[in-house]
Amino acid sequence: MRKMLVVFVALTAIAGAALFAYHPAGAQGGGTIEASVTYAGAPVVEKLKVNKDTQQCGTEAVIEKVLVGANKGLANAVVAVTGAKGAAKVVKAEIDQHGCKFVPHVVAMPPGAIDIKNSDGILHNIHTYSTANSSINKAQPKFKKVMTEKFDKPEFIKVTCDVHSWMLGWIAVMPSPFFGVSDASGAARIENVPPGKYKLDVWHETLGKQTKDVEVKAGQTVKVAIEMKK
């Protein structure tokens, strides 16, 4: 009973805070960070012959552990501003299981809910490896098009599917609302960052972490180059 009351109060507080946070206080007069993530090494791509569901999965599975594009651009790196106060535009996070791959391969989200879709229409299972949040392992059969899961604590969560062992994805639950994920050319854009001096944290699933100093000025775009190393 008492526990329920505590939970209720906490939930009310969170809901209130969330409502309050919807007014983007720091958005006005913010600056933009354009991060360019590069990696000089070779791409790491594993290939596997598929023995089932070839209609949806194709005959060859490609596991993209390190994806390097033009001009050494490194894809799928999470870039986040630490210490910035305020709220960014909130879009509900979403990850899809499409072609027996997690799309996107890395999804960054604020603490909260994420929609997990199954557009393949075959059995997948969402198996997460986490320590701060509870690990989940839930079946998502063909008729279950969307599942909503909550991840409340900041953490990089590995997501796999045991039915298709090559499937690998990451859900990056970020403590600050200012983050981005680098695209195929290695570019990540973070908008409406309140002016100030911050640490810019970069994370990649196999290449680890790096931190850079960054200064954001109102109405300006600051470019940051980050070279990831093994």
């Binding site: 690990s135 839930k138 599942m147 045991d162 062992s165």
Partner: protein, 493 residues
Amino acid sequence: MPARARARVTWAGGVVGAVIVVVAVAATAGAAWAQAGDAGAGKAVYERKCASCHGEKGDGQGPAADLLQPAPRDFTRGAYKIRSTADKTPTDRDLFDVVTHGMPGTSMPPWAVLPEKERWNLVAYLKDFAPETFKAAPKTLELPKEVASSPGSIKRGREMFEAIECNKCHGNQGRADGPSRAELKDDWGHPIRPADLTKPWSFRGGMSRTAIATRIAAGVLGTPMPSFMDSVEKPEDVWHLTNYILSLSPGAPRYATLVTVASLAGPIPDDPAADLWTKLAPDTIALMGQVIQDPRNFNPSVDMVAVRAVYNDKEIAFHLTWNDPTPSAGDGARTFPDAVSLQFPPKPSGGPERPYFLMGDASDGVYLLRWENGKGVGEATANGPAKLVPIAGSEAKGIAVFADGQYRLVIKRPLVSKDDTRPTFQPGVFTPVAFQAWDGGAGEAGTRMSLTSWYYLRLEEPESNRRFVLPPVVAILTLAAMLLVVRVAQMRS
């Protein structure tokens, strides 16, 4: 605390009293899951009975751990496979049940030999290894109302089995041969096998209806088996699935100790799928891993074979059925041809002395009827597993078929042998027989096999009128003898 609380009620009003009642109720509810085990006393039992596998620190790194597969549980992670709860935290009863009943199919034995109090103490101590997990009370799993088994429920269960694609791991007929089998790993990265749903007695958490429904609903933590509670069409489908799964097996293996060879008047069919074979009730024989000679087989793949046998005036035939989730003709490196053999002494009526059951030895050989994937059926002699010599001009023949994780094989041979390297089968004689099996797809070959020690087989006597004639004759003779004895006694007196 309740005493002090009650004292407060005397001077305070009913409001305070109500609050105390609420707190007391909450405390009692909490006590229901926290059983009164003594962790300190549990430590002593743990160090004596558990630490050699699970490690002194509970990290699953005991001295024997490297020899065990599946690996012993790492208690410090607080992840338990067998839970009756909706989240990570098991109930004390869940832990107590695993300690008591063990984990079938693993190295974890049942510890019912320990007094109940000691087992509860152990549970208390185990929880201390992962305080984080046990900080919160377990979340009760609400199973829907039980649905009794019926043809309709089993049919719905099969539909759901197909809709949620249980076959991906467990196979179309539940024989653990699904296409994802080879890829499965547990959360620690160790390869793990799906359960063979046709052998519920091997289920880790037990084979009761509630246990099976709970595994489907809550999943098996730390393994690829996910939770299906929110992923079936209707909640009661977990019961339909349970009923379907239980319909796949005879309930218990009912292992035989004697193989009966039925007498047949007509010809024996070659086809393993022929009607005759399905009509005969099988004798089920249990196989064990070969752990006497190196390299040993601690985790055998084939653990039972169903035997049906018939003979007529010319031939004897054996029909064998066994599950093999990984059919293989062998690549010669990591996989080998699947094989099975029936073993007999060369002279079955040679008295109580039998050759060494492990394929004979240097002085006493054995005779084998053997099938190997790719090579087919043949006869062989052996003087130990390493000395197997095919008999030239084999008179054995046979056909094997494979479907959905199961082999069915017919091996035939003339009833009477032409020479003394092979036995002649005679009705009414108890003939020693043993079995060996190799799942080559799982890397089994040579001494890495499953096997039995000697069993017996007996050819049923052909039906005759003797049974109607002999007993009356014996009765009359006995009566005559008795009369004679009486007569003699009377004459003497």
